[in-house]
């Protein structure tokens, strides 16, 4: 048997680090492109946790789920970038603090 070289908790803590770097990016940055990239980091943190657990439990359902997450991330990136382009067309800036057209 080939045991896992590194315990699964190490991978999951690494995933948590990546997740919170992404969360910090979403909270602190004002550039919507960098916010979208931070969201991609969060998706990837979730994928890393899923695949680490998949390997630990020797069950490839985790890999299937990671595959579906990648598909959803692709759709999210396409829609998000289209929204950024539309927002830039209308208000000449893409600063998220300035995009307040839906504020009541």
């Amino acid at each position: 048997m080939i045991p896992m070289a590194v315990d699964v908790s190490n991978y999951v803590v690494l995933s948590a680090v990546l997740f919170f770097i992404g969360v910090g990016g979403v909270i602190l940055r004002r550039n919507p492109l960098i916010m979208l990239m931070s969201i991609e980091l969060i998706f990837n943190a979730a994928n890393l946790a899923l695949i680490a657990f998949s390997r630990a439990w020797m069950n490839n359902a985790g890999q299937i789920f990671a595959f579906l997450v990648i598909t959803v991330a692709a759709a999210e990136a396409a829609i998000g970038l289209a929204i950024v382009v539309v927002a830039f067309r209308r208000s000449t800036t893409v600063d998220v603090d300035e995009v307040s057209g839906l504020r009541g």
Binding site: I2, V17, F20, I21, M58, F67, G101
Partner: protein, 200 residues
């Protein structure tokens, strides 16, 4: 073991680089490095197909989309956030929230019951990367995807179709919504690159 720590450090460094750059172009470069490192991490976890998909879909498709949008917005290498900078005021509370969340999650991970694995997981062998018919091989993944998990796989087609229709609707100029003056700030006096350069 050493490989994991090297990859972990590289992953965190590239992620921090991505988040802290002022210019989105440098962020994309950091994100490419991040995704490649992550793909290698997937390979160490016997996820061969996800390794390939990570390279092709993420670094090949999604990041190219980012680069195209940055190019389209002609934001080039300059920061394009205008107005007052709220970062000094927001930095400390945001970092506190992030660190508290991270500490909470890490405590849960390290003191939870992650170690309780099913019996077959401790005895079965994953095999080497590239070997056929073992856990994590592309054949193993494909059989699971097209038999047990066929319905979710089909549903992704619907998601992608919705995404395509949504992007076409959003990006088309067919229905220009009138922009009201009090919703949109006037164009600043600072020089901006035009969205589309008029070059003949």
């Amino acid at each position: 073991m050493i490989l994991f720590w090297v990859l972990a450090v590289a992953l965190v460094v590239t992620a921090m680089f991505t988040v802290t750059q002022r210019s989105p172009v440098y962020s994309v470069v950091g994100l490419i490095a991040n995704f490649v490192v992550l793909a290698i991490l997937y390979l160490t976890l016997n996820a061969e197909f996800i390794f390939v998909i990570q390279i092709i879909v993420y670094t090949g498709a999604i990041l190219v989309l980012f680069v195209f949008v940055i190019n389209l917005l002609s934001s080039g290498t300059g920061p394009f956030a205008e107005g007052p900078n709220l970062m000094p005021r927001a930095l400390v509370p945001a970092l506190l929230v992030v660190l508290a969340g991270f500490a909470f999650l890490t405590y849960g991970i390290l003191h939870g019951s992650l170690g309780v694995l099913p019996a077959h997981a401790a005895t079965s062998t994953p095999g080497q990367a590239g070997e056929a018919g073992v856990f994590g091989s592309i054949a193993d993944f494909g059989i699971a995807l097209f038999t047990t998990h066929l319905l979710p796989f089909e549903v992704t087609a619907l998601i992608l179709m919705v995404a395509v229709i949504g992007v076409v609707v959003l990006a088309s100029d067919a229905s220009p919504v009138p922009t009201r003056g009090h919703h949109v700030r006037p164009r600043s006096t600072a020089k901006r690159e035009p969205i589309v350069k008029a070059e003949r």
